[in-house]
């Protein structure tokens, strides 16, 4: 990645709320055009990370550089980064159209035609009052607001949380794909990474306040395996090996990396074992340690 322009660099980010340490020396880099999934359990610090990048929170230590700018409290960074919060909120007394016009007044690169086009594509009634919008339609409005000014960097915080299948599909297979194809850098945090797994270039696991593991998405897709093996000859858990299930005398083990698999095979520990590619969802679960 060193030879590609870094759009986002976080170094040694630390943040505590009272006695609770949420981020603990987190490092993260995202290159131009990269789509990164941040995988983490509830309360692992994903939203805090995004708020620090957006200059909404000040880190206790560490630094952020996004699009060659540093957070300074001015809010300038938020004018360059598209952001879909986990729970989008707008002024209920405005209509969708007023909301878009209001937002447009703050973004110099706001594309009104694009916003209108997106509203049509997402079948969002611009005359409707925001207070009357369903959760799905509120999410659509958030998506329009995040992308109508053509940001080079997008932060999507649980972007499909609580949405029904159709809306989710609309957003993921439509919008995100389009954005990703457009060379934008996207950082997505999601519980259910499986549904966006096809879009990702990298998956970073946020654990104990730092990026615990960082894998290329292709690696997850092609080099993770589910090994069903007798419990008494189960390989030891460790680097690249994770027990993901137990059914009677059979253990299910996730093995990360072809090299590791070959190593286990050659050691004879997988004799008679059934080896199949690990499903994406299961791979992410294994990465999370669930």
């Amino acid at each position: 990645m060193n030879d590609i322009e870094a759009v986002l660099t976080c170094k040694g980010l630390t943040k505590s709320f009272g006695s609770k340490k949420v981020l603990s020396g987190l490092d993260l880099e995202a290159a131009q055009g990269e789509v990164i999934g941040i995988l983490g359990r509830n309360g692992s610090g994903k939203s805090t990370l995004f708020k620090i990048i957006l200059d909404l929170l000040a880190p206790d230590a560490g630094s952020v550089c996004a699009l060659n700018r540093f957070p300074d409290g001015s809010g300038e960074l938020r004018g360059l980064i598209g952001y879909v919060p986990e729970k989008p909120a707008f002024h209920g007394f405005m209509t969708v159209e007023e909301t878009l016009n209001f937002r447009a007044s703050f973004f110099s690169r706001w594309d009104k035609a694009k916003a209108a086009q997106l509203a049509r594509t997402l079948e969002l009634d611009t005359k409707a009052k925001v207070a009357d919008l369903s959760k799905g339609n509120t999410a659509k409005l958030a998506w329009i607001c995040a992308s109508a000014f053509n940001p080079r960097l997008l932060l999507l915080d649980e972007p499909t949380s609580g949405l029904d299948y159709l809306v989710r599909d609309h957003i993921l297979n439509g919008l995100v794909s389009e954005l990703a194809d457009g060379g934008r850098t996207i950082v997505i945090s999601n519980h259910r990474m499986g549904e966006v797994g096809g879009l990702l270039d990298r998956v970073c696991v946020l654990k104990d306040g730092r990026i615990a593991t960082d894998h290329k998405a292709d690696f997850i897709k092609t080099e993770t395996f589910k090994v069903s093996v007798r419990a008494d000859s189960r390989p030891q858990e460790g680097a690249g090996v994770k027990v993901i299930g137990q059914a009677g005398s059979v253990s299910e083990v996730a093995v990360f990396g072809r090299e590791k698999l070959e190593e286990l095979k050659s050691s004879g520990k997988l004799d008679g074992a059934e080896i199949v590619p690990l499903e994406l969802d299961a791979a992410f679960k294994a990465l999370l340690g669930e």
Binding site: L54, A61, G73, G75, L77, P85
Partner: protein, 642 residues
């Protein structure tokens, strides 16, 4: 920012509209409920007075409380903070919207009043109160918003803001009223804008820190929290510090207590040596502590009244405790001192000396014209409204003061004074021819003497008794000087008479003055141009070694000192030099022409120019100044003696 303010205005529109509606509705309501005799305009003015005094300040609290608490809510943060503006800008826009709404409401009230204040003119204090009102309103709105945001609760924020604004404004207002009505003790002209600036700049600074603490959750916020507290508390501390300063400065203030001045029976009755000794002390009071004392030029003191609050206090309520005493001091036949001391219409007659102290010899109630008289027969003279004039000899007898009726009418008191002058050996009389003045066998001829039926008071100078007789001339009046060597000469072309307009300095210099006005000049002041007549006091002087000076012009002293008519007195003469006190601000030494070789010494600052603020002695002047008592000699050397 404009879009943010528009947003905030829209968010709070309902509350604002309801209050604006109430203001507008109060017009027909006032007209509907007014009493039959009340004019419609008056009823509307009364309604607007309510809004001005109570309604608008309450509205400032309500609007700022709602807006501040709203800005702290999680929902507002979720909606507005993702916008590409600083969190502080969001808060600022909220506060600005409240200020705008208040301005509109005030404008509505002003419009209903026809953009005029229903007072024919504003007094100085009313103008000050109006300024305080405008400041308080803005401060209340800003502080209410900030504290409501900090507490995340509109009611708590508004309540604390109201208390804080009161704590800042009330002391400043009472001090302003006090200084305007009484004395200028501290530079409020500087303190008030400084505290106002501190308040109006401190609140946004605190809001910025609060935004960092609550929104951005900055690391280690303890220092920021302390800074917020200091920024918000600074105006309160400033206001109370100024009050403490005022109280402490008040405690140092000295004023002359020897202010029961009687020109009718003045210093001229004393022989030369006694006159200098009598003038060698000053009766001084500290009006904020109640202390009264007699002091000499070396700082030796004798306390007449230690006062109720003997020591100055840092905090003595919202206004310094101010009470005035009045006193007079005269010398008796053996040089002993008598003091008449009055406070709150009750008084004492004291007797003693600076060295031995004073003891009360009698009590006395305040009556009109109560006068302490010295000389060979010291006494008190008083006027009892219904029955006439009375006198009581000093020292009092075993049964206290024995009041004897002197006269039932005013003419009688002049006869009393005349008889007393004669008994003191301090007056000459005209023979029946109306031209011959006689004193202990000596005679002078004065043609055209203005008053020949009453004794002519004289003054004992180095060469003996001198008498001044005003006489009519074909052009008006002239004053004749009858010298001890028997010469009588017309010395001054004016009417001058001891006990009326001719005075004796402690060193024996006799002087009178006339203050004609010079050319008019235009002066620019805050209220525009005004025509000012420049006074040019002319002095008539008999120096202690017998030189007569006529029409010594002192306009140049007035020009230099910038004093007004009547504020210049002669205090000393020596050789070919004269010393004047000008406006209780300067001691001026000049030649006999009033201008040559002029030397000017600035006196210590006095609190207010009052009678006897500067009191002459034979060897210098006492100054009852704003921070203590000073003595300045004829070379301008100043010494703080208390």
């Amino acid at each position: 920012m404009k879009n943010l303010i528009k947003l905030q205005l829209r968010k709070n529109f309902l509350s604002f509209a309801v209050i604006l509606g109430a203001i507008l509705a109060s017009v027909p309501l006032a007209l509907a409920v007014k009493s039959a005799g009340m004019a419609a305009r008056e009823a509307v003015n009364l309604a607007m007075l309510y809004w001005g005094i109570a309604g608008i300040p309450l509205t400032a609290l309500i609007l700022s409380g709602i807006a501040g608490a709203e800005a702290a809510k999680e929902q507002a943060r979720n909606i507005e903070q993702p916008l590409p503006v600083s969190q502080f800008s969001l808060l600022t826009s909220g506060a600005a919207a409240v200020l705008l709404q208040l301005a509109v409401l005030l404008l509505a009230v002003c419009a209903i009043l026809g953009f005029t204040i229903p007072l024919s003119s504003l007094t100085g204090i009313q103008e000050q109160v109006l300024r305080f009102y405008v400041f308080s309103l803005g401060y209340l709105a800003l502080l209410g918003f900030t504290l409501s945001y900090a507490f995340k609760n509109g009611i708590a924020g508004a309540a604390v803001a109201a208390a804080a604004v009161t704590a800042v404004v009330l002391p400043l207002m009472t001090m302003t009223v006090f200084q305007q009505a009484a004395f200028v003790l501290i530079p409020l002209w500087l303190i008030k804008p400084a505290i106002a600036a501190l308040a109006l700049a401190g609140v946004p600074a605190a809001l910025k820190l609060l935004s960092d603490i609550f929104d951005r959750k900055i690391p280690k916020p303890a220092a920021a929290i302390l800074a917020v507290f200091l920024l918000l508390a600074a105006p309160v501390l400033g206001s109370f510090s100024a009050l403490a300063w005022l109280n402490l400065a008040g405690g140092k203030v000295t004023l002359p207590a020897g202010n029961r001045f009687s020109a009718i029976f003045g210093a001229h009755i004393y022989p030369a040596a006694q006159r200098a000794e009598a003038a060698g002390t000053m009766l001084v009071q500290r009006p904020f502590t109640g202390e009264v004392f007699l002091i000499d030029s070396n700082g030796n003191r004798s306390v007449i009244d230690p006062g109720a609050n003997h020591k100055a206090r840092i905090f003595a309520g919202l206004l310094p405790d101010l009470s005035f005493a009045a006193a007079d001091s005269v010398a008796g036949p053996a040089g002993e001192r008598w003091i008449l001391y009055m406070r709150n219409n009750r008084g004492q007659v004291l007797n003693g000396s600076l060295k031995a102290g004073f003891t009360s010899r009698a009590t006395v109630n305040e009556t009109a014209g109560l006068t302490l008289v010295g000389g060979k027969e010291p006494c008190l003279v008083a006027y009892q409204g219904d029955t006439g004039y009375y006198s009581a000899a000093l020292p009092p007898g075993k049964d206290g003061l024995k009041w004897m009726k002197v006269s039932a009418e005013e003419s009688g008191i002049f006869n009393f004074w005349g008889r007393k002058y004669l008994r003191e050996g301090a007056a000459a009389v005209f023979r029946k021819d109306g031209k011959t003045l006689e004193y202990r066998g000596k005679r002078w001829t004065v043609p055209g003497a203005a008053a020949t039926q009453v004794p002519v008071p004289g003054v004992e100078l180095g060469d003996g008794m001198n008498f001044f007789v005003p006489a009519k001339t074909k052009d008006g009046y002239a004053t004749w000087l009858c010298r001890p060597d028997g010469r009588a000469e017309a010395v001054w072309p004016d009417y001058l008479r001891l006990s009326l307009n001719l005075f004796v300095a402690p060193d024996g210099t006799v002087w009178g003055k006339n203050a004609p006005h010079k050319a008019q000049s235009r002066r620019l002041s805050s209220s525009g141009y005004s025509i000012v007549e420049q006074p040019d006091p002319v002095f008539y002087i008999l120096t202690r070694d017998g030189k007569v000076l006529s029409k010594v012009k002192t306009g140049r002293i007035v020009d230099n000192a910038g004093v007004t008519d009547g504020d210049i007195d002669l205090v000393h003469s020596d050789g070919n030099s004269l010393w004047f006190v000008s406006g209780a601000r300067y001691l001026v030494k000049t030649g006999f022409d009033g201008a040559a070789d002029m030397k000017v010494w600035r006196l210590p600052e006095v609190i207010k120019e009052r009678v006897r603020q500067v009191s002459a002695a034979a060897d210098g002047i006492f100054i009852a100044a704003a921070d203590g008592v000073y003595f300045m000699d004829w070379d301008g050397k100043k010494n703080k003696i208390y």
